[in-house]
Amino acid sequence: MDVLRALAATIAKMFATDLWLTATALAAVALCAIGMRAHIVPPAILPFLLAAGIVAALAVGVIRGARRQGGKSGSSSPVDRRTF
């Protein structure tokens, strides 16, 4: 039972670590689909529009995450900085 509960939590976390980011990505896809069906967005432009929308969602998601963490713990330790 405990394993099943943990499995369900893992699956939920896979797609909704940050609910705002998930909702924004879904909204970007939905808006592109609606725009194309309504002949507002030409199919030749839609891929670029979606790519730009997703990168904007990522940027806002990262900044929101940084602000939230900044409020919690201040800044990073030296260990945090050895990344790339």
Binding site: T10, L21, M36, A44, V55, A57, L58, T83, F84
Partner: protein, 248 residues
């Protein structure tokens, strides 16, 4: 048909993503092995691997029967959401906002917890150790199974995705067994960053294909998209580091 332009990044994404997850699962299995011996650790891990392989074997061919356009959109959206989550977390870690995952610390914590449990439940300790190993491999492997199934959803692509995941599993386990210690030197965050970019790029590409608005350049656009999201991630982590320097 086997498409090398799609198969190569799929194999790479499955291999790198699996490596990250296998490293994390190996740490816990090793802790079980150190505290309770190799038998319960190996049995628990093998049982979980069998379950994960069965899921791929059952659902993989089933996905091939679903109409391509609907499947591309669904899988594209799922990959996009999942990939963005990994990319965001990797950017926050690269920017010094979140702490990096420390395998040595995870190993010490797990070993301590298992020793405590063994003292209170000495009779069932082996069974408990097996369950811990089973759970670790099953939970870490769930993400790998999703990546394999989602990226292998197009005809002919399940084999490279599964091969990449299986290759990572064998390689990381072999290195871990040879070293007999947690694999803390592996640059997990850089790998997570790369996989996040790959999955996001594939997600956007398949969403557009599913919506009936194909990318100019066909499958080659995937490479451009992946590079675009990796560059965006790098730029964002640079901004975060700059912000934390200014604050300090």
């Amino acid at each position: 048909m086997f498409n090398l332009v799609q198969a190569a990044p799929i194999l790479a994404a499955a291999f790198i993503a699996s490596s990250v997850e296998v490293v994390e699962a190996f740490t816990i299995v090793l802790a079980v092995s150190v505290v309770r011996g190799p038998r319960p650790a190996a049995l628990g891990a093998a049982a979980a691997l069998a379950v994960l392989a069965a899921v791929v074997a059952a659902f993989g061919p089933l996905l091939a029967t679903v109409p391509v356009h609907g499947l591309q959109l669904t899988v594209g959206v799922l990959l996009l959401v999942f990939g963005l989550g990994w990319l965001r977390k990797a950017v926050l870690r690269a920017g010094g906002v979140l702490a990096l995952h420390d395998e040595d610390e995870a190993f010490a914590k797990e070993t301590q917890a298992l020793r405590r449990e063994s003292l209170t439940q000495s009779k069932a300790a082996d069974w408990l150790g097996g369950i811990v190993a089973f759970k670790a491999v099953l939970l870490e492997g769930t993400e790998v199974v999703f990546i394999v199934l989602a990226m292998g959803a197009r005809p002919g692509l399940l084999a490279p995705a599964a091969l990449g995941a299986a290759g990572a599993c064998v390689l990381v386990t072999a290195i871990g067994l040879a070293l007999r210690k947690p694999l803390s030197k592996i640059p997990e965050n850089s790998m997570k960053f790369l996989v996040g970019g790959l999955l996001t790029g594939f997600g956007v590409f398949w969403c557009c294909e599913g919506l009936g608005a194909p990318w100019p350049g066909g499958d080659w656009a995937i490479l451009g998209l992946v590079s675009f999201y990796l560059a965006a991630g790098l730029a964002l982590s640079g901004v975060l580091r700059h912000m934390s320097h200014e604050r300090a």
